[in-house]
């Protein structure tokens, strides 16, 4: 049942919004507890910290009539209370019980509906009952103490300024963005009209006033845009929340010891980007545990501590967000990749190590198929990379044998509105995201040389390849005249010039998707509507720089 069909949809949505982060924090704490107990630490404050959250979840679930969630939260509360007293029972068995319950709670709440299946919840409650029954103690005095424990737990979300916070369905923000987008399109239409009018009427006080009005409208729209964008931002920790349990589960299944270190969880991204980021990150992490990190005995042989370290770091870097997944494992095996590539008929004789490493993103070359069958998770490194590219991001891999592997993602903060350079090639207009534009240069015919039938020019002291826009975009020089400009496009360390006929100007464009009927054209990442109502394609700079397109 979808939420739309559910009369309790809004309430249920509120319930999920409030309880899911709590459940994720609880799950997170359980994974951490398991690690601490293994290290012989008591972890009392962690046990205490989850109880307030569990209590809130239990109360909210009961209010919504969601018995499975209520019962699981209740059972976990009991188990935590018991473990708080019975320090002797703390250990792997107890931790496994808590972690599985925490995971169950997250799953139940995430998919909450009045029809939620209670079978798993019943089984878990029974499991907790057996665990507690195996214990010798439970007196009324302790139950009293438990009651006192519960008071004094601050409820999450009751911090400063909570009274000024309103919960808004994200779809409303999307609708507002659509409207803002239309406003931006209308504004550029108005600007266009102003220019035409000015040519016809010439200078006069009214034209000047119109100019000022159009200008202040632009300022207002820009401010509206940045305010709206801010409301759409969420900390990446909302996605990172489910990773500790995942990493733990994969590590268990693989017989590995792994410590996950998460930093930069407060870095913010547009929810639309975040929503699509979970799967690829999940894949990178489980891949790192399954293939990157070695078994404890192999690590010992290599002179490393038995526990592998997996780092998930996020941070803002020059207007974009960088996310890095790194491990201190065995590193990529360049020789194995070379052998695999050759068996697939690829010519890798001249490839250097870095190029070989980047082949892990090629379909069929990633070892991801094994992860999928092994842990039932993951999507394939090639698919992960294409999701990142689809978000307008880049993904790079570095690796040192025996030292580890690091995947670095660079992502735009938002997908919705992208400041772009509008160019014209063979009478079609295209948008190039400004974040990928280094410079626009007038194309002097003598400055562009042909080497091996490829255009090459000097740019800032380097030789760069200059491709013909018509060749890349498949329109092949309809006009026959030489192009007037080239746009130097960059993505990561790559750069290339693209010859175009005209530069139209800068514009904030509202990104619209590609219809599935269009397939997945390699050089286009989306579409937008320009001021005159025409549709323009948004160039996928990352993939063009990777060589997509008709390069002759």
């Amino acid at each position: 049942m979808t939420l739309e069909e559910n009369p309790f949809g809004d309430l249920l949505q509120d319930y999920i919004v409030e309880c899911l982060p709590l459940a994720e924090e609880v799950g997170h704490a359980f994974v951490e507890l398991e690690r601490r107990w293994r290290d012989g630490e008591p972890g009392d404050e962690l046990l205490a910290s989850v109880k307030g959250r569990l209590h809130t979840i239990k109360g909210n679930s009961a209010m919504m009539g969601l018995a499975p969630m209520r019962d699981v939260a209740h059972a976990l509360e009991d188990a935590c209370g018991f473990l708080g007293r019975a320090a002797a029972r703390r250990g792997d068995e107890a931790a496994a019980l808590l972690v599985s319950g925490g995971g169950l709670l997250v799953d139940l709440i995430g998919d909450a509906s009045p029809e939620t299946d209670g079978t798993a919840a019943k089984a878990f409650v029974e499991e907790v009952r057996r665990f507690l029954a195996a214990a010798p103690e439970s007196s009324s005095a302790e139950r009293d103490r438990r009651q006192t424990d519960r008071r004094g737990q601050p409820r999450i979300g009751e911090g400063d300024g909570a009274g000024n916070v309103v919960r808004v369905d994200f779809r409303r923000l999307d609708a507002m963005l659509e409207l803002l987008g239309e406003g931006l399109i209308q504004h550029s239409g108005l600007t266009e009209l102003y220019r035409r009018l000015q040519r016809r009427v010439g200078a006069c006080p009214e034209m000047e006033e119109l100019d000022q009005t159009v200008l202040s409208l632009q300022k207002t729209l820009t401010r509206l845009e940045s305010t709206l964008m801010e409301t759409r931002l969420l900390p990446v920790s909302t996605v990172f929340g489910r990773f500790p349990r995942l990493v733990r589960d994969v590590a268990h299944a693989e017989g590995k010891k792994v410590r996950l270190e998460v930093t930069g969880g407060e870095t913010t991204l547009d929810k639309a980007v975040l929503d699509r980021l979970g799967e690829p990150l999940l894949h990178l992490l489980s891949n790192a545990v399954a293939h990157g990190l070695e078994r404890p005995e192999d690590r010992a042989k290599a002179g490393k501590p038995p526990e592998g370290v997996l780092r998930l770091q996020a941070g803002a870097v020059s207007g974009r967000v960088a996310i890095r997944v790194s491990d201190d494992g065995r590193g990529l095996d360049a020789d194995a990749i070379r052998a695999r590539a050759e068996s697939l008929g690829m010519d890798v004789r001249t490839a250097d190590t870095a190029q070989l490493h980047n082949l892990v993103f090629v379909p069929g070359l990633s070892t991801a198929e094994r992860v999928t069958t092994l842990s039932g998770r993951g999507m394939g490194l090639d698919v992960a990379a294409s999701v990142i590219h689809g978000l307008g991001g880049t993904i790079d891999v570095e690796s040192l044998p025996g030292r580890g592997t690091a995947f670095t993602l660079s992502l735009p903060v938002t997908l919705a509105i992208v400041r772009s350079l509008i160019v014209e090639v063979d009478r079609e207009r295209y948008a190039v995201p400004l974040s990928h534009v280094a410079e626009t240069v007038r194309a002097e015919p003598e400055a562009i040389r042909q080497i091996n039938n490829q255009g090459v020019t000097q740019w800032r002291g380097d030789l760069i390849h200059v491709a013909d826009g018509g060749a890349v975009l498949g329109t092949g020089g309809l006009s026959g005249a030489p192009r007037s400009y080239y746009v130097v496009m960059t993505a990561g360390a790559r750069r290339r010039g693209l010859l175009v006929d005209r530069l139209i100007g800068h514009q904030d464009i509202v990104v619209k998707g590609l219809d599935p009927a269009l397939g997945r054209p390699p050089v286009v990442s989306g579409t937008t509507i320009l001021g005159d109502g025409r549709v323009a394609c948004i160039l996928d700079v990352v993939r063009i720089l990777e060589g997509a397109g008709h390069v002759n």
């Binding site: 619209k512 219809d515 397939g519 579409t527 008709h550």
Partner: protein, 171 residues
Amino acid sequence: MSTEGRAAVEPLLGFADTLPAAAPNASAPAPTLHLLTFTLDREEYGIPVTQVREVIRVNSITRVPQVPAHVRGVANLRGRILAVVEIRTRLGLTEGVVTPSSRIVVVEVRGRVLGLLVDRVSQVTKVPVDSVVPPPEEVVTAETDFLTGVARWDSRLIMLLELDKVLLLNG
């Protein structure tokens, strides 16, 4: 309904919803198909009117690099991006030229909204189911199985198209 007629109707999956509910009753008025017809070159084609959302004039169609051959491009449908299919090349005709009579027929098939670029829209019409015969075997191949029948009616030949297959939505 004769067995011959039934044989002709059965392949008309996409048209089934245009049949009156009481169709099997022999005493009821002859069942009809409710069609929107359009022309490509000189031939007339029909699609179920229930799948048509609207017909719009062609303003500008933006080419999209490296898309399947039957995709003409994208157009602005009141702020929404509409993929426009070059139905002519799907039917084995040469790529069309946009003229003042060209139209985009906006269809909804399996929940997806797409535009069909056609040379001219003729009319919305009803044809009796009995007038539909299966297409001649020689002209139907694996590639042209979107042709589900031919309506011979009112001295016209209307070729009935199965949009799912024309638009490759089932593959």
